[in-house]
Structure formats: structure tokens, C-alpha cells
């Protein structure tokens, strides 16, 4: 599945591990939250990511965060907006600076929202047209509220320029 970053398709170096798959000894892997311990047991130099289910509280990652290079958040359906809050809390409360990756079934029309909540990459759902996603990113040039991206103020009031 193609991976989108800043409106462009990029190469995906990560391997996502299922519930009972064996962890490869080396290489970047994304483990499910309930296998975080297995991931942390690998050598400290190996890149580690964790996939967070929508009902998980961000705080469960607090201790492990320095070891994490990626946190995955997911949309079981586009209607379920919990991942927006998870991403924002990761950036805002835990100062997480790594990759926040979206999986599941988001819509391109949600792309700008995702970016503004601190998401960095999106694993596009099957059949998604990357051009539509890129267009969604370019649609708006201003926004009306603070977000974790700390965009530059536009004129007066609450407005800011979208990056």
C-alpha cells in the first residue's frame, strides 16, 4: 500500500507485524500495542514503531516513547475521529517528534486535518488515488484555529497560513 508524506508518495521502510508473527531480529518494525514489550526487547539501535488502537490512551506510551520512532494511529472508518485526538495529544502532551502514521480508512478530505493534528505519513487505503490526496492538501491556504503545526499567523485574529 502506497505511503504518503507531504502529498507525495514515498518509500516505506517499515514492516508491520501482526498479532502472532515472529519479530525479525533487525530492521524497522511496527508492532501492535500488546506486543510493545517484544519490540522493546530488541537491541536498542533497531527502529521500533507501535500501532495504537483507537481506544488506547496515549499515556500508555509514556515510558516507551524515547525508544519509539513511529506511532501508528488508525481509522476503522473515516467517521471515527479518535485518531485526530491521539495524534494531537502525542505531539502536544508527550512532545513526540517521530513519525505519526495513519492506517485504516481515512478519506482524502481529511488529509489536511490529519497533517494539522501532527500526522506525518498516511498509508493510503486500497484503491486510493494519490492525486486526489495531493489536491486535498493544496485546497486551502488558510485556517482559523491553532493547531500543533504552529502555522504562521495570517493578518489578524485567529487566521493562519497553512504550510
Amino acid at each position: 500500500m502506497p505511503l504518503l508524506e507531504n502529498g507525495r508518495i514515498v518509500e516505506d521502510f517499515w514492516t508491520t507485524i501482526g498479532g502472532d508473527e515472529l519479530l525479525p531480529p533487525t530492521g524497522p518494525v511496527i508492532v501492535p500495542l500488546d506486543r510493545l514489550e517484544d519490540g522493546l526487547a530488541r537491541p536498542a539501535g533497531e527502529k521500533l514503531g507501535v500501532a495504537l488502537p483507537p481506544d488506547a490512551e496515549i499515556a500508555v506510551l509514556r515510558a516507551a516513547l524515547p525508544r519509539l520512532a513511529l506511532v501508528g494511529v488508525t481509522f476503522p472508518t473515516f467517521r471515527d475521529g479518535r485518531a485526530f485526538s491521539q495524534a494531537r495529544a502525542l505531539r502536544e502532551h508527550l512532545d513526540f517528534a517521530g513519525d505519526i502514521r495513519v492506517t485504516g480508512r481515512p478519506l482524502p478530505d481529511q488529509y489536511e486535518f490529519l497533517l494539522r493534528c501532527g500526522v506525518s505519513t498516511v498509508q493510503l487505503p486500497d484503491g486510493a488515488d494519490p492525486a486526489v490526496w495531493a489536491r486535498a492538501h493544496e485546497r486551502f491556504t488558510t485556517a482559523y484555529q491553532p493547531a500543533v503545526r504552529d502555522e504562521r499567523a495570517e493578518g489578524f485574529g485567529l487566521r493562519r497560513f497553512l504550510a
Binding site: E57, G81, E92, E112, F140, A143, G157
Partner: protein
Amino acid sequence: MSAEILAAPSSGIAPVGHYAYDQVDRAFLHDRVEQFRDQVARRLSGTLSEDEFKPLRLMNGLYLQLHAYMLRVAIPYGILDSRQMRELANIARTYDRDYGHFTTRQNIQFNWIRLEDTPDILARLATVDMHAIQTSGNCIRNVTCDQFAGAAADELLDPRVHAEILRQWSTLHPEFSFLPRKFKIAISGSPNDRVAARFHDIGLVAKPGRHGTVFDVFVGGGMGRTPIVGVHLRDNLPEEDLLAYLEAMIRVYNEYGRRDNIYKARIKILVQALGAEGYREKVDAEFAAMDRARYRLPPETVAAIRARFGTPALDAPSDAAERLAGARRADAAFDRWVRTNTHSHRAAGYISAVISLKPDGGIPGDATSAQLDAIADLAERFSFGEIRISHMQNVVLGHVRQDELHALWQELGRAGLASANIGLIGDIIACPGLDYCSLANARSIPIAQKLSARFANPDLQERIGDLQIKISGCINACGHHHAGHIGILGVDKKGEEFFQLTLGGSAASDAAIGQILGPALPEDSTVDAIAHLVDAYLVHRTDGERFLDTYRRLGAALFKDAVYALA
């Protein structure tokens, strides 16, 4: 204090109490229309499934009703200018069946819209700085406000600048556009609650504090199938924390609100499940953890937005009040209309006039394109080109000179808009019901029309006094029946339309949920039953006592007998 503290408006801003767009705001709206045009094209070509298109069209106010699409256009905090009203009239003429319907949330709906036309309609709305953004969908909806804001004598603070700030802040909010369920915020600046603050997901009451504006915050009120009066969450929230605190409140809801059952998804259910204390603790924890500097609302931001509001120059002649008094003495019908359809103004020589959209036997809240145009003209002539929509589905001209009120009333009469029934039994709220709505059990509109015709006599109406009838065609309660002094709820009994009566509700500062009176009635006995209730009230009331207070004093038994003993 409202107008006096307003900064001098920037040049070129009309004297209307809403935010004046600039080029950046217009460019944003243009982008939004083009985005929707693209979405409609993707839907028509089949790239988007109806399931995927639905939340996108809903966030642009487009519903699929029983017979056609309905477009709900936002009227932020209920304020319009004449130019905007004329464009609404144009849209009614061009794309609908020549009328529009004002809703209980200060919006206007067009009931007969074609999907293909909606991008063009939105483009036309954008030419007058209007839109349908977030008038439906599981997002923060149009923020509603007191219809007498900035005019009322009893107001502590004009809440419209803060309503505008909330409108901007919630527009395409990145985190809160896919909440568990819709989210409604109301804001008032008067101790006399005219916005039903306690029946909203969040209700705010603004007031002057020792160091600037502060807010009392209510949460988790609502109607629908689980009517709940909102919890008083906190007092004296400082203005600079307004956005941060709302972010915290809504984030807790986004994270913990139920998503498994749409009937349990509103914030009121979460607040009930956690308890007021439990919810408050979570909000406070979030508030403490968040980057408060980022969400701070500095006074300069408030001032900058306030500077884009128009202010009317109020200078009535010194004999304005006297001349109004003279006109009232000379014309009994006018005098009656002034008694029922006006509201005291903070400025000497001015008054606010309510234009009833509840003609005898008519459909509550409907207005033809000719009436919309007439209102636009009259607003220009008599009230600085400013028009307000009330949550009672009426129209208000906020700043009318008292010496010109008689002329206004005569013009309203010519346009068929001079019904003298505000706050009386004829001022009925009714949802669209089975005539339009696919969720309905029963037709609300014909009941409203029959009641309105039955009690058309103005003497009778005035004798009955303050009495609010509210009608919903099903348990979703769009007609606020829970908050009616008399509520009427359409129910389905083996495929037949029946109506259940509730008594004792109120949406005002004495907020209460009405109690079911007894078994539901068939349509043809419902109007009679209301007449019996009114008769019983007239017999038992004490001097000056409202229906609601008689009911509260004497209880249900008497009224139950009045309706069911004869049957």
C-alpha cells in the same frame, strides 16, 4: 455596555452586528465551494460511494429528505444583512419552490434542492459571504446566540463577538470534525436565558468580570430521545482561556464519547456516564496538560475581530418615546402588536421589533421569497440593514426608532407579516415532520396549523398570555417538545399518527423537561385536548400567572382530568 466598548469599526463596514469578511475570508469560502464542487463531481461520477459522500455533503448542510435534498444554510449567531437576505430570496426563487424555512437553530433551510445545483447555490451564497459549512454532520454546528444581542436592555454583554470567534475557531477544526455526534454551542450575554443554554452540548453565558469578560459554562444538555438539562460545569472562565477550555471539553468527548450506538453518542450521555465530577476531572486534567499558550485567546485577537463588526449609530430624536406612545393611543391594533412583538432596547428612543413568521393557520418559520425581500427592504429602511433570526423561528429587527415603529408596523401589515402573537399560543414551534422528514412518525405541521387557526383570535391569545407550544414529529425532538410549556410529540400507533402531550417544560432560565400527561391521542382529538388544557388553566390561574406556573403550582391531575375525564 455593549456598543460603547466596541472599537471604531474599520471603514467600509456596514452598521450590522456581524463579522465583515475580507479578501482572505472570501478566498477561503471560494476554496470551500470548489472543494464541494469536486466532491459532488466525484459522487456523480461514482468515485465516491453514497456512504463516503454522506459525511461530506452533511458538512456542507446537504440532507437527503423524504422527497428531495434539503440545504441548510448557516446564519451565524442569527445575524444577516439585507443583501444576504435578498440572496436567500433569490435562491428560494431560482432553486426551490419560492420559499425558505427558518429553523430553531437560527438557520434557513431550502427543502427542494437538486444535488447538481448545490455547488452553484453555494457559490451564490459565497458572493454574499454566506455558506452551509457545518450545518449538519458530526461536527461543531452553527453557534447560536440571543436574538436581542447588542440591543436588549437586560444584557450584560454583547456575546456576538465571541460567537464569531467560536464560529471561526470551529470552522474546519482539524480535530473536531469527526466527533461521535453533532455538537451544538449556544452563547448568551444576558441573565435572562433566551438561547436555551442548558439544552445545548455546551452553553455559555458571558458576563463582565473584574478583569474582562468571563463565561459560565454548561455542558451536556440536550433534547432528542434522552432530554437532559445541562450540568453547570464552571463559573467565571476567563476570556483568554475560552478556546483552550473548549478544546479540553471537546477532546475528552472525542476520546471517550460512545461511537457504538448513535442514540448514546451525544456528550450528554458521556457526562451522565462519568458523572459531572468525573467529566470535570478529565477536562481539568486535559486543560492542565495542554499547551495553554498555543490556545490562548489574547485580548488583541478579540479586539481585532470586534473591529470588523459594524455598530449602528443610535441617535433617536428626544421625543421618539412620546410619539410612539401617541401612536399607540391612536391605534388599538398597533398597540396590541407593540405589547406582544417588541422588546426593550438599551438605547433611549429605540426598540426591538419581532416579525412573527407564525401567521394564523400558517406553517411556523416559513417565508416566501417576496416576504424575504420585503424584510430586507424594511430592515434597510428601519434598522440599519440588520436582520436577526430567533430560535423561535421568527425575525427580529434589532434597532428600530420608536417614532418609526408605527410606519414599520403598517409596512409589515402590507407584507402579511404583522401577526401579533410573539410568546403567545400562536407562536408555535414545529419540526418539519412527516411532510418532509424520513424519520417522522407523524405530521407536525398540520397540527401547528390547526392550533394556530383555532386560537387565531388576538383577544383570546392575549388573555391566555405566555404559553409556548412545541411540536416534534418523532422522538428526535427537533421541535423541542420537551421544552414546551405544552409539548406535542408524534408517535406511531400501529401505523396511525398519534400525539403525546407533555406539560411543564421550559427552555429558559427555569429550564425543565415536560412530563407526559397521559396516553397519546389521535390527531383529531389533539387540538380539542389543547383547548381543554387552556380552559382549565384560565379557570384556575391566579392573577398574572403563566400557564407554566399554574401547572407547576397545581400539578398534573387537574389537567389530566381536563383532557381524559370526558373521553
